[in-house]
């Protein structure tokens, strides 16, 4: 494949533009369902697009004494990580033959980049509340990455492969007990990866007033918000691919609709957890992820080894 086609794919479909639009629509669903749960009407359909476009026209303020390059490049780092993850995932989903050895590990690293970008940005902004948000984000990464990686071992053991294409070909893991346990573990880790309630410690509107992003304004803030919306699309899609058989485009409309419903089901679970749980403390979050959640993922691995 020549580089022009690849670049066009990266910018439009299935890369940046596609992920951004679907991610923003998903974030509208999140806000609308949240509003309906609280008996409100909620924002109009194009609200996330207005928010992002408005920020593109605002002034960018760089705090005095902060490293300019790092402060401005952190949002770009997060955005490029999310875009690349979505690009690789969708290329394999559309054509499983394009899977390469260890693409699961590449995706795992790329999905961590937005959180790393938030940490870099918060420490570059020279604000005590931002530093607090950054340090919480760092502890949260240490907490959730362990059970998340352990849960991803289950499909690797089942499919006997590190290639996403072969895991997709293996199909859904849900009939097995280990698959169900691993999916529950990874849903909890996904909630923390998206920094949504009850694990929204790095932002914590009520105590850190925006936390890691407190000093960001204008286009860089817009890029951070866009990255968050894109992650809301990529992460559930990643889980659907790894644990739930993915979306099959070859099998006609019915199988495509089924794949889409799986994605919607995960979004509904995320929104319901977000609307019914209070925020936890950082020590509670670490204890939760390293205790019961890691225990569950270890049990899932053992069950997978025994063929359950």
């Amino acid at each position: 494949m020549d580089y022009t086609t690849l670049l066009l794919q990266f910018v439009f479909f299935p890369g940046f533009l596609f992920t951004a639009v679907v991610g923003l629509v998903t974030s509208w669903i999140d806000r609308k369902v949240t509003a309906r749960v609280q008996m409100r009407v909620g924002p109009p359909f194009l609200q996330p697009f207005y928010d992002i476009i408005k920020l593109m026209f605002k002034e960018t303020i760089i705090p005095s004494g902060s490293p300019r390059l790092l402060f401005l490049s952190a949002p770009l780092l997060g955005l490029s990580g999310a875009t690349l993850a979505s690009f690789i995932l969708w290329r394999i989903l559309l054509n499983p033959g394009q899977s390469f050895m260890g693409d699961l590990i590449v995706l795992l690293y790329l999905l961590t980049l937005p959180a790393v970008a938030a940490i870099l940005g918060s420490f570059a902004s020279q604000n005590p509340l931002a530093s607090l948000g950054g340090s919480r984000e760092m502890k949260l990464i240490i907490a959730y990455e362990l059970p998340f990686v352990l849960a991803l071992l289950v499909p690797i053991i089942k499919a006997q492969s590190m290639r996403l294409g072969e895991i997709l070909a293996f199909g859904s893991l849900l009939p097995s007990a280990s698959g169900v346990l691993a999916l529950i573990v990874s849903i909890l880790c996904m909630q923390a990866k998206l920094t949504l309630v009850p694990f929204d410690l790095p932002e914590a509107e009520t105590e850190l007033t925006g936390g890691a992003f407190i000093e960001y304004s204008g286009p860089p803030l817009g890029l951070f918000k866009l990255t968050k919306a894109m992650m809301l699309f990529i992460l559930p899609m990643f889980l659907v691919c790894v644990f739930w058989g993915g979306i099959h485009f070859a099998g006609g409309w019915n199988s495509m609709l089924l794949g889409f419903l799986k994605y919607i089901a995960l979004i509904v679970i995320i929104v319901l957890i977000r609307n019914t749980a209070p925020r936890v403390r950082i020590d509670q979050a670490v204890t939760f992820f390293w205790g019961p959640v890691t225990g569950m993922s270890v049990i899932a691995i053992l069950l997978a080894f025994w063929g359950w």
Partner: protein, 142 residues
């Protein structure tokens, strides 16, 4: 009307700057975000950081000490930013006008786009003021 103004009026992020208000205005401001009035219909949400603000909401009196701080916060907000004074105190000084710690009305420190008198103004009055403000903002750039 330019695209910048169009999207700004559709997505106003409000930063609430309380200048030692008696809490009546604050309660009525929060009322507009409750299910009954729900200003998120128009894309209006509260934010915690001045860097995320498009609209600064002033309530209470700004006295000799706090008025300069309010000015500092206004300068830290990313432009374009809209300023609204809510309640009699923020508009004119109210019953505290002329007291020992009061110097000038806050409009002498910060350029204010809309005055919303009342003690406190009702949520309906606030929503009406927001609608008028949005119309004015759109009309300005025609």
């Amino acid at each position: 009307m330019s695209l910048a103004i169009n999207v700004l009026t559709r997505s106003l992020n409000v930063f609430h700057l309380g200048g030692s208000a008696c809490n009546n205005c604050d309660i009525e401001i929060l009322d507009t975000l409750t299910p009954k009035y729900d200003l998120e219909r128009f894309g209006i949400v509260l934010v915690g950081s001045i860097r995320h603000a498009d609209l600064i909401l002033l309530s209470g009196i700004f006295n000799k000490k706090s008025a300069s701080r309010a000015r500092l916060l206004y300068e830290q907000a990313p432009k374009p930013v809209v300023v609204v004074a809510v309640g009699g105190c923020a508009c004119t000084g109210g019953m505290f006008r002329g007291s020992y710690n009061w110097d000038h009305p806050v409009k002498d420190y910060i350029p204010i786009d809309a005055f919303l008198p009342g003690c406190p103004p009702k949520p309906e009055a606030m929503i009406s003021a927001v609608v008028k403000l949005i119309h004015t903002l759109r009309g300005k750039k025609q």
